[in-house]
Point group: C3
Chain length 415, copies 3
Amino acid sequence: MLSQKDNEALTRVGPGTPMGELMRRYWIPAAFSHQVETPDCPPVRVKLMGEHLVAFRDTAGRVGLIDERCPHRTASMFYGRNEEGGLRCVYHGLKFDVDGRCVDIPCVPQMAETQLRNLQSQMKIKSYPCVERGDVVWAYMGPAELKPDFPDLEWTRVPAAQRFVTRHVQECNWLQGVEGGFDATHLSFLHGGDAEHSRRVVATLYEVMPTDFGFIVGTGRDMGTGTINWNVNVMLMPFHKIISSAVHAAHVWAPIDDENTMLYSVNFHPSRALTDKDLERETSWRGIHTENVPGTDHAIRNRANDYLIDRALQSSGQSYTGMKGLGTQDCAIQESMGPIAERGAEHLLASDAAIVKIRRLLLQTLKDHAAGKPLPGMRAESYRVRSTRCELPKGAPFAEMLGNLVRADAQVAAE
Amino acid sequence: MLSQKDNEALTRVGPGTPMGELMRRYWIPAAFSHQVETPDCPPVRVKLMGEHLVAFRDTAGRVGLIDERCPHRTASMFYGRNEEGGLRCVYHGLKFDVDGRCVDIPCVPQMAETQLRNLQSQMKIKSYPCVERGDVVWAYMGPAELKPDFPDLEWTRVPAAQRFVTRHVQECNWLQGVEGGFDATHLSFLHGGDAEHSRRVVATLYEVMPTDFGFIVGTGRDMGTGTINWNVNVMLMPFHKIISSAVHAAHVWAPIDDENTMLYSVNFHPSRALTDKDLERETSWRGIHTENVPGTDHAIRNRANDYLIDRALQSSGQSYTGMKGLGTQDCAIQESMGPIAERGAEHLLASDAAIVKIRRLLLQTLKDHAAGKPLPGMRAESYRVRSTRCELPKGAPFAEMLGNLVRADAQVAAE
Amino acid sequence: MLSQKDNEALTRVGPGTPMGELMRRYWIPAAFSHQVETPDCPPVRVKLMGEHLVAFRDTAGRVGLIDERCPHRTASMFYGRNEEGGLRCVYHGLKFDVDGRCVDIPCVPQMAETQLRNLQSQMKIKSYPCVERGDVVWAYMGPAELKPDFPDLEWTRVPAAQRFVTRHVQECNWLQGVEGGFDATHLSFLHGGDAEHSRRVVATLYEVMPTDFGFIVGTGRDMGTGTINWNVNVMLMPFHKIISSAVHAAHVWAPIDDENTMLYSVNFHPSRALTDKDLERETSWRGIHTENVPGTDHAIRNRANDYLIDRALQSSGQSYTGMKGLGTQDCAIQESMGPIAERGAEHLLASDAAIVKIRRLLLQTLKDHAAGKPLPGMRAESYRVRSTRCELPKGAPFAEMLGNLVRADAQVAAE
């Protein structure tokens, strides 16, 4: 059970909030590159971390992410004209470049060049630096002097043909998503079909270790033969998960605001292009992707239609939920906890040990950040990790061995 | 005119409110039995008294009404799997029976039987006892030690073939419904068609008498011949009305929350099955039922479409309202006062004497309840009453005579 | 930049607010006359200045505008029956005339005539005096003893054939509309198509002069030949604009509530009927009118569909906005500033001089009103003005000359 104060600290992400300021120290996915596909194409609205923004691609191909509100008279830049090196507000013609600099103020009476430059320098629009990696536009919304290098996320480093990315809106706070992502216990229930089987395979050991990239979540099952079967998942600060699966996979839970999250879902292969068969399998009901209402980021199976739950399928025993799709099942349960889960109402079990430790680690990181201590994940190379499974002898030096393990493969792929 | 404080006290029904706690001392209709028709059928959402709940029928046929929120991690039990003696949360597999007992926690590592029993005993879900009477599931949401016997409501005691029940949502507070139900004055206006006629038949005497079941509302017309024509209606605590009509009828105004009410409308015959002709008449525009959007509890003629008011019909003089259906007319007027009527803005007339007295009685009952005094309606037999009409000599001992009268017929039928 | 306090003072219009009370000293458009076309026709809902009202036309043809809420039991008068000299509440039959007098209380027991009269005199419904001018119903919502004569607005004084009026809802505060109406700078940007041309024609002189009707806004361009080209617009208190155009035009921004405005748009000719050609031109994309969803006051091109912006048209350079219609362009930009623009977030330029002066004048008028000083626009004749364009020698006595000018033509037409 978490205090209301700690729950607020962990979940709120607006400007000035503890978690909001912590997250702003990292690169955050803002849009797909293809949403601003060509130079001078129409701008798009982006809501991110509770802020209303507009993304556009300038004549030189650079992507800008600026305040939706023109600093002059507060009109929306979304209706702006994207032209020759900047986005022009259509109310009085002020123009801003991708760095937020005002590059034209055509509505003032003719004035001396130096006077005009001076005036323009006072008329900056809020803007965030962007990079494009892995078909996605990423923004850095923190203090300029603390901007880290873009992290070596493996899925953003492989060629486009080796990657498949979708996204959809979850109507709940980001932490419900991340907690669900690292809750190993639910796998055999929510995504399973047989309670008796599930009962037999639940883990008995839960380890969460802080690392230089975030943390490692290990859930272990004692095989009774002197060895432990470990399921090892990596959480890369502040909201990434790398998933160990047939082809590799990843999730990013990027806060839209306190009560909505953009979940990016990724498949990738480190060394070859994804095949039609890969995509067919991964976008089927066994994959993590959701099918969206065309032209939107909203899942067809959503809260308003109870995720098209099939009660006959559910009672048949073939599916715990009667819902089709791993992504849909996660989304349904996480959204059902409300816009921001009331963690004060929980009654946690031994099987929630990982969740408890993750919350403690995040709270500790908030304290460290407030105290000016160094943060995990500031070195790009630290992100060269993968989730994995392994069998270790009981009593083996867990921390060291797993730490090495999650880095092993990814080191190679990253060369 | 009522003070804002008294208006709040009378209307708010959430947990911990004075009226909310008073109502929770009585049985409250939660759902139709047919909504959870068969053992292990899908659960249904129920919002009642401001609480989010889930109703289900277990393998043995018993109906449960439990918190929508799983006590473990706050996921919704609505998506739960109804199986073998309980409803199982699909997130981590916890299972609860109709009494709220946790009967399975499959997600924890294997532990000793006593340890597991102990763990389960700590993991109770909020649950309310239910009974099924008159095709309806009723819940008791008050203190266990104060649970009364189910009241001898006549319409719940006749065989199913002698009863017809519908329900629909009113988008306003429950008290607007109850006040409308006992406002004799509006009958000849709202439901009438001729102002001059209405003017001649208005009552001149208003009596409201507390009884052991609630109160009797008598409206009398002096016939000028030494006798009074009394229209006598019974209000059974906390929100029942028995209606005197061709076949007998009844209403129950069950609060969904402070601003929405589920109105149950009943026709019944004490001694014979209802005929097709009965049902045809009662579901026509002269009856109290409303026609709903199929598959919902929402009336086709509703606030969003101005109840399909027919202005030509209204101006023709054949109908005061131009709205078809007594139920629709009541609903339109009661909802038009707002989600919770601002009774401080009223200017009451002599013809509102009954309304004033009802409010005073309810306020007094709130005080009595707070003071731990006995409440009306706690004895099941006290509900054996009917509304009636009668002619009494002027100056007759009104209270005693009417008290006997409303009990007379129903006593017989209840045998 | 405006303080939050001043922004609140200028924008809020509910009962008891400074601007609300100031506006209530003037006649305010409430509905089209054709909405209550014939005697005893159905009443219509009117939301005005944050108040919920009902308009109806009585048997004698007089228009009434009364509280939506019956003073007896707070039921909605919208469902009322409009009959023989008044609107009758359908709940208990109380009837009110256009002056708010209660003319019938049929639900009380028969009583002596004087007693009944007395009772009726206590049961007044809030009502506002109305007049019909220019196909529009206007209400006076201020203190009875301060009611001014209806102003000599030219467009309301010409025969119906010489006038064309439409209206639509703007989803923002009234002041965003008025400020947009007197912002000369935006004309060549928002409504223009060529930044370079716009840059060359921006004004360099901004004058705002208080007058006995409101104020004159003059924007001047120095022609470099010893003369100034003046564009002269009149603001008639509290929210009128007269527009100089091919046929004459006018706007009225009437507050529905703090966050919604009914914009009336008018074309008129002082001396001849409008022709089909006039109407065709004025309702085309170059005019100020918007095309509405049939049967509503809502524009087809609206915020929910991004005003059907055509990005290809926008990037073609033929249109700054890619939006069709002057009215649509204004509406889009004004609504994009939010329900009530945060003027504290602005960074004003020299070209905003008129806007700054208008705000100061309005704030000064609020102070004058609070201090009991006389208000502009109280004399009907003071409204006999028109906007205009002219060329004046540099250094000419601007105030006097323009003051005369705006009155010149209109004086003649008003005879």
